[in-house]
Symmetry: C2
Subunit: 371 residues, 2 copies
């Protein structure tokens, strides 16, 4: 059989205050099309359907419509678990009814030991879990950490293995040795929460969610699908996509998603950035992280840049600002207000006061001194 | 056919900070038993399943379990609409899957014109609505108020009437001429929001939600089921229950629910209330609204009463507090601190200072004056 593996939809997520609904919907349509073209027999969504445990009404509606589309319209069997961003309880609503149309949604430890069998494959749906839930489930308060709890889970899952079938684990955790981006919260890098991949060797494929880069795991049979949409500047060059897995070959094929709006990191001078030969190459609908190489102060620089790049996520200076540097250590002469004003003007604008401007400042200072 | 009509579960509601989960669950079990004993062919829940649009995880779980029980375990067809306390969007989650097991949950105006047919009866599920939704649905911005919008809705519903069938409206609004209790929010008494009952004459039965007293409507074919649980002191003597309707007879039968914990309004003196002959008649698990007939000040009276009646919802004085009255207009002699203290003591405790107490006060005042 053949399945599609996606995860980390994070519906409702904002990118630096920009709503991503358009991007989410576009990526979804691509996933839907890939599933159709590849004629898959099932679709895995490995957790974090929502961005937060208390999703907005709009997010609830969006997820509901997407699942309806895949399951009720396109008639795909769905295999879904809750991630650390989902509320297991809220996501679980209605799950007992979903089974009738082959939508298998599991949010509980206990459900991980009741595999879903499709053709010759057993799918084990293990939701994101906290060690305490596992201690309670097994009544084993002695389990020290996430690794020990995971070991027990895998043992119990293996008891359910049917030898003549393939075995796929769907889970949501941090696999040791994986690399991460900025958009995953509360991830310990290879630390306390990491699950050694050696635990997973007996599965034919492990469909993971949690990390947002599809290259986060290098292991052949342990894959993160990554998020379908870029969620941070650190993912600007990350290739989004889904895995297509044929259980006969288990050689996962990565099918890329084309971002409807890119995140571009531009490192250049202000003058270049606002020259047509540069900005005309870029879409106003894309997102930008700008690294300014200028060494001069440019007043109101972000609003000036927004005329050409309306969706700026970040603005940083990579050039050293020399005037400011020079000025920083200079003792200011506070006895001469005229000089203070004219120095400040030069610092900010890079220009000297004209004689007319000097006259206006003098008059203004005179008025102030009168009072 | 025969159906059971309930509404206004308000799962998650608190009664003066007391959690009502126990009461809700008990009432639910009674409803389930009545449905079984009466061998009903369907159950109507006419809105306000939740107490608020953003219910807690516990409330979500509770509603999900109750619907599972009625629909998936007991196999009752369910007819459900959203009320003004529900979030239509959140409640709607999964509804497309529910139909497969005869759980019909409608939260949209458009759904009201697609009747559910069970045996010889058409059920029209009209959710709670705001006039603007109806204006948009019909593209009729000229509709002035809720009455005009309702008239149009009823007209369109009647177009769907099959003449050889019975016609039941399930709705959630304030029917003109109905009486209300304290626990419904934002209800205009017979005012702007009231729907004239004359609009409803062509239905065989109108199963309403919104008002919490089953006697709120006197019309024979237009009924509020009321809430299954008492939600305010004003409902202390209100008989909770459900309606059982046989569409052949349409003579609704009221089947009472027995509250597991009562709300008792006790009007008595403090001394009587704390005497065993009185308090032993009452359960510590019940709720109490106490009307004190005493005319004396009783220090810390609510905590003293809580020893006998732990769940006090309200404490009011019905007796005039005479000492306070007398004292209120009296000019106080501020020159004699000893007299001020001893008067205050007498006011609060009804007793005079003992000679020892007088000594202690004198010493304390001396110390104060030294500073």
């Amino acid at each position: 059989m053949k399945f599609l593996h996606t995860a980390d939809w994070h519906i409702g997520k904002k990118l630096h205050n920009f709503d991503l609904k358009y991007e989410e919907d576009d990526a979804f349509k691509q996933i839907e099309r890939i599933a159709e073209e590849e004629k898959v027999d099932a679709i895995i969504i490995a957790g974090d359907l929502y961005d937060r445990s208390l999703p907005s009404e709009e997010a609830v509606k969006s997820v509901n419509e997407k699942l309806k589309r895949l399951n009720l319209v396109d008639k795909h069997p769905l295999l879904i678990i809750s991630g650390n961003h989902d509320s297991a309880t809220r996501l679980n609503t209605g799950s007992e009814w979903f089974k009738a149309t082959n939508l298998f949604l599991n949010t509980k430890i206990s459900g991980a030991f009741e595999p879903v069998e499709i053709e010759e494959t057993q799918f084990f749906l293990l939701p994101y879990f906290e060690p305490q839930e596992v201690r309670n489930y097994f009544d084993r308060q002695d389990l020290k950490n996430v690794q020990e709890t995971m070991q027990l889970i895998v043992e119990k899952i293996k008891e359910k293995f049917k030898p003549n079938m393939k075995h796929v684990l769907v889970a949501h955790f941090f696999a040791a040795g994986s690399t991460q981006t900025d958009s995953e919260t509360n991830v310990m890098v290879g630390g306390l929460d990491a699950i050694p991949t050696s635990y997973l060797n007996d599965f034919d494929y492990v469909a993971l969610g949690h990390l947002h880069d599809a290259r986060a795991s290098q292991a052949e049979i342990i894959k993160y699908s990554g998020s379908p949409v870029k969620f941070s500047v650190s993912e600007a060059t990350s290739q989004k996509g889904v895995w297509i897995v044929d259980t006969e070959k288990i050689s996962p094929k990565f099918v890329p998603l084309v971002p409807v709006h890119e995140i571009n990191v531009l490192e250049d001078s202000f003058d270049n950035l606002i020259s047509p030969s540069v900005y005309e190459k870029y879409s106003k609908e894309d997102y930008y992280a700008i690294r300014l190489t200028d060494t001069k102060v440019i007043p109101d620089v972000i609003n000036k840049l927004r005329n050409y790049y309306p969706k700026i996520l970040e603005l940083r200076r990579v050039g050293e600002i020399q005037e400011l540097k020079a000025e920083e250590n200079k003792e200011r002469d506070l006895t001469d207000p005229m000089k203070l004003v004219s120095d400040f003007f030069t610092e900010v604008t890079g220009e000297k006061l004209t004689s007319n401007q000097q006259k206006w400042v003098k008059n203004a200072l005179k008025d102030v001194n009168k009072k």
